[in-house]
């Protein structure tokens, strides 16, 4: 009896140790919110001896398309990838990346009210997504709603954000958020490709130019996420070197703070965070961005 209890105790402790080791690994690899036990809260003047969960944020393809449109960019169907070749992609890496490209093109078409094109990209996303086990985001009811609301941009935007959310949360829950990272990275590259294609290096549109330069922040965030994965994850290890030249380019842009932040509140309760900053984006940066975005995008789109 004593031996039995002792064996249970030892085996349970060993098992718990193994589970805890594995889950620590998972926290890094799967990119579940990460726990940092260091006390770095002192900055705010308060002391909490607390654990810290870190959420990582990725660029939103919908937001980038919105920025390009409000900056005055015209719709260019010729810049988008064909949605019909989706069965040519075989590996998980390729499928994850092309899923991001299709999702970005779908966002772009929707924002510009090109809903017939958007539906084609939604169908392509569904086919590729399901082939890598993302089912919930492309449920029959969601596709039906998209078809029923084809003339209503706001409904289409809602359907799209639901799809992104369902994909992101399912992959995170299943410890496969590397796939979400790859898709979001590819979507970001597509946004850079579309945005930079609209720029003439000798006479760049100042608004589109500004939005492209601001991708310095998205680049820094993406780099941080990639850096947080330990080496050895095949998907991340393959994607990271592809993105490095973009990280370098955006990292080299000089940002200056012209006036510091201040806050004011409107009567409607909306706070404005004031402060002015500028990001230097010269002709050579435009040229380099165009080159990099095009070559990376070609690499992703080629089966």
């Amino acid at each position: 009896m004593y031996m039995g209890m002792r064996t249970i105790g030892i085996l349970t402790l060993v098992s718990l140790f193994l589970i805890s080791c594995d889950s620590e690994g998972d926290k890094k690899k799967s990119h579940k919110p990460e726990l940092d036990r260091s006390d770095n809260v002192a900055d705010s003047g308060e002391m909490y001896e607390s654990a810290k969960t870190i959420f990582y944020s990725m660029p939103s393809p919908l937001e980038l398309s919105t920025l390009i449109k409000t900056a005055g960019g015209e719709f260019r169907l010729d810049l988008l990838v064909s949605p019909t070749n989706n069965n040519q992609y075989q590996s998980t890496f390729k499928k994850s990346m092309i899923l991001g490209i299709y999702a970005a093109d779908m966002s772009y078409a929707t924002i510009y009210d090109q809903q017939n094109d958007a539906i084609k990209y939604l169908a392509a996303c569904k086919r590729v997504g399901e082939s890598i086990g993302v089912h919930e985001a492309f449920s029959a009811s969601l596709i039906e709603r998209a078809n029923a609301n084809i003339g209503d941009r706001d409904s289409m935007l809602n359907i799209m954000t639901e799809m992104y959310w369902a994909t992101s949360s399912q992959l995170q829950e299943e410890n496969r958020d590397q796939i979400a990272l790859l898709a979001m990275s590819a979507g970001w590259i597509e946004g850079l490709y579309i945005g930079s294609s609209l720029l003439d290096p000798d006479n760049p549109d100042p608004e589109i130019s500004k939005r492209m330069a601001e991708q310095k922040f998205a680049s820094a965030q993406l780099k941080e996420i990639f850096d947080s994965y330990p080496a050895g994850d095949p998907l991340v290890d393959e994607a990271k070197p592809m993105l490095e030249p973009l990280f370098e380019l955006f990292g080299s842009l000089n940002a200056t703070i012209d006036t510091p932040n201040s806050t004011s509140q409107s009567k409607t309760g909306v706070t404005t965070i004031g402060g002015k900053r500028t990001i230097e984006f010269k002709r050579e940066h435009v040229v380099r961005l165009k080159e990099l975005a095009e070559s990376l995008r070609t690499k992703i789109v080629n089966p």
Binding site: G4, T7, Y48, K52, F55, E63, T70, N261, T271
Partner: protein, 156 residues
């Protein structure tokens, strides 16, 4: 011995399943209870949810673009909602907003210049509790942006 191994295996299986069930519950909690907090704002499509204990905090670094209006919504399970607050800092760690002592769970704002902001969410310890066992629950951070395309189209 066989019974012992079977018992231990079941225990391990139960632990693994519990972890996954908690994750799934958190996701369902966000979907059912939190998404509505974004109101007319479009979600950025990202799931930032986790199980947190009293006395813990979380942070999210996010880029916010000029000429866009945003909403940050922090949604917590009611067992840990008491005293929860969140703060917004700029990259130089200047405090720009705190919900402390307001009880507010949403913050609507815009930025004059595109920048990264850090959102810090704090689940304080319960000072009235003598128990050593800390309560836990789901915490979700949602970021939404307002559709300003129509405004742009009208202006142009």
């Amino acid at each position: 011995m066989k019974v012992t191994i079977r018992f231990t295996s079941l225990l391990i299986l139960a632990l693994v399943l519990t972890t996954n069930v908690v994750e799934a519950q958190c996701r369902n909690f966000t979907k059912r209870k939190c998404m509505k907090d974004l109101g007319e704002y479009f979600s950025n499509g990202q799931y930032n949810g986790a199980v947190m204990f009293q006395g813990e905090e979380a942070s999210l670094m996010q880029t916010f673009y000029s000429e866009q209006q945003y909403r940050i919504a922090v949604c917590t399970h009611e067992v840990i909602a008491e005293g929860m607050f969140f703060e917004v800092y700029d990259y130089q760690k200047n405090l720009l907003y705190t919900s402390k002592e307001t009880g507010l769970e949403v913050f609507d704002f815009n930025v004059e210049s595109t920048q990264q902001l850090n959102i810090r969410i704090v689940i304080p310890d319960d000072p009235n509790s003598s128990s050593q066992i800390k309560r836990n629950g789901c915490v979700s951070v949602l970021v939404g942006f307002l559709n300003n395309i129509d405004k742009y189209e009208t202006a142009s």
